[in-house]
Amino acid sequence: MSSASEFAVHTEGLTRSFGSTLAVRQADMAIARGEIFGLVGPDGAGKTTIMRMLAGILPPDTGTISVDGVDVIGDAEGAKRHLSYMPQRFGLYEDLTVTENIFFYGELFGITRQKRLARSRELLTAAGLTPFQDRLAGQLSGGMKQKLGLVCALIHTPRILLLDEPTTGVDPVSRRDFWAILYNLRESGVTILLSTAYMDEAERCSRLALLHAGEIRYCDTPERLKQAMPGALLAVTSQDPRALRQWIAGQAGVLGVLLMGDRIHVRVDDAARRVPELKALLARQGINDAVIVPAEPGIEDVFVALIGARTAP
């Protein structure tokens, strides 16, 4: 697989089912070195299954996987030295301290003492965990646990990092620390593949795969995905966004309506034509405070537009 080895991660026709459920179907991915590649999709779309197959702990039914040029199916143990995998809930030993957990995972990968100490100092500082070194892992907050998981996952300096929903349930401050670490890693040439259900996080990725029902439906940069979104996006604000949605949904030319907090996003086939129509419609309903402006689509809009509102994450 000479072509596959140019990529950090390369899969072809990756398929896996559990019983009669097809969890992943014909997934093809080619992730270049140094990318932050995002898997986006609702729960049950197959994100974790893909991650586990890439990590070499779940054999696919069919398909090929190459990670850093190593054939994962043929040589899972060989591939493990190149990659690190952090499951949704990183397995920390709660009765061990922060330092002891790092020590344990470092030793498992056969890191020398000196390297381990230097690396853990660096990672702990980046994660803001230095003051908590002697605390039991079980007594850390959710965000700190997740950061400690990342530190443990990075202790052996992997070239490819697989993160399964790493920031789910993590507070915003810890999330920011987390991303700072990820950006640093990318600078040093690490390829990162992460799955996320957070759309703001998806925006930070260099490329995204939109996953639905086990299939990769779209795969491109966030910008190009936005351009690929059919129609134009309008933001409509008013006192009562719920009432707005009721009136607007189902009107001619309206492709989709998404409630976004204090406003709604309306996707229409032709903005120039539909804006006056909508204004007139709302005025007829007695809603005079509505403001309609063109909006930049976010990944959430794109996802819903491309894959459908019912399956939106």
């Binding site: 702990i57 779940l58 995998y85 397995g91 002891e100 498992l108 039991l136 443990c152």
Partner: protein, 376 residues
């Protein structure tokens, strides 16, 4: 290899040390169960509630009854006047055994024609019933032997003591036939089996549940290293268990220890390896601690019953006898009883030791093979 194994061990012992209740949980239940077994597990029967119906009212009948009562095996709870009263005593459970002496008992005895004695026994607890019946048989036999010699001597006939067979029993290795000597060594093996199998099965399933197993799988650790790291601590704990409860058995219950401690150590080690293998095997079939619990329950009790701890294997149906061949406890009970009470060595025990070694080898090999580093 040794770095990864030693870090696994270090982690296990750190976790054990941090778990403040671990030592308590490991030791106290064992000691309590040893004491309970030591005092409660006995086949000896005392003070059986007895109803008596003496329709003869002779010196001979009264003498027989006082003989029976004198042993303290039987307590007379009711001196009945009628058959009906006896039936009621047995039915309502106030008496376990009823002795009926029919009219004419003394006369028949004096005639030397043999006097029948009726015994009614509540068979719902067949074990107690049989044991009590056994005692009664002995007492009556003694009594009748004395009466017979009195009868034969009375007329002043020559010819000396009566002829016939006399059984002289001389139990070896446990001259007093003390139940405790039989049970305590068995308890040591049984408790160790129960504790080690469940500890091992649960420890690995817990890593799976907490998610640390998934993390360990993506490291370059080999299954053997992981399994050794997980089981060696339990091996040591098991040896500690066996030593501790053996010492308590010897010092507190005065069970003799005649054998070689080194052979005991060898037997205990092989037994523990087989037991660990069993726990590991159960863990490879369980995804959650509930499943491990159910499997543990499903296997450990039959292993206990089919071990010869209380029920002789020779008396079991053939199919179950075959099953006992894969039961490490079966062999260890032979070994531990022999070492405690008989003091025999390798020459006598090698078949059982070999069987345990084979079982250990088979179970550990299967578990290592079944434990692939995959979530499938």
């Amino acid at each position: 290899m040794f770095e990864r194994l030693s870090v696994m061990l270090m982690k296990e012992f750190l976790e054990l040390k941090r778990d403040r209740w671990a030592m308590f949980r490991l030791i106290v239940p064992l000691l309590i169960q040893l004491l309970v077994f030591g005092y409660a597990a006995t086949f000896t029967v005392h003070h059986v509630a007895t109803a008596v119906l003496d329709l003869d009212q002779s010196q001979a009948s009264r003498s027989l009854i006082s003989h029976i009562v004198a042993t303290s095996r039987f307590d007379v709870v009711d001196v009945a006047k009628t058959d009906r009263q006896i039936t009621r005593d047995i039915n309502d459970g106030s008496a376990t055994i009823a002795i009926v002496i029919h009219a004419g008992f003394a006369r028949e005895l004096a005639n030397g024609q043999g006097a029948p004695l009726q015994v009614i026994i509540d068979g719902t607890n067949s074990n107690t019933a049989l044991i009590a019946l056994g005692y009664l048989g002995q007492i009556v036999a003694q009594y009748s032997a004395r009466e017979a010699s009195a009868v034969t001597l009375a007329p002043g006939l020559a010819g000396g003591p009566p002829r016939g067979l006399r059984l002289e029993t001389q139990p070896w290795f446990n001259a007093g036939l003390d139940d405790r000597w039989f049970f305590i060594p068995g308890v040591i093996g049984t408790l160790t089996l129960m504790q080690v199998v469940s500890l091992t099965a649960f420890a690995i399933v817990r890593e799976r549940e907490v998610g640390t197993l998934e993390q360990i799988m993506v490291s370059p650790i080999r299954p053997v290293e992981f399994i050794l790291g997980k089981t060696l601590p339990f091996f040591l704990i098991g040896l500690g268990d066996i030593t501790l409860i053996s010492i308590v058995g010897i010092l507190w219950f005065h069970v003799p220890f005649l054998g070689n401690p080194l052979i005991m150590l060898l037997g205990a080690s092989l037994f523990l390896l087989a037991t660990l293998g069993m726990g590991l095997l159960l863990s490879t079939f369980s995804r959650t601690q509930q499943q491990a619990f159910a499997l543990n329950f499903f296997f450990v009790n039959p292993f206990f019953i089919l071990s010869g701890f209380a029920f002789p294997i020779a008396a079991m149906p053939k199919a179950l006898q075959w099953f006992t061949l894969i039961n490490p406890l079966r062999y260890f009970l032979v070994v531990i009883r022999a070492i405690f009470l008989k003091g025999v060595g390798l020459r006598a025990l090698w078949p059982d030791l070999l069987a345990m070694a084979l079982l250990a080898l088979i179970m550990l090999t299967i578990s290592v093979r079944r434990f692939h580093k995959s979530l499938d």
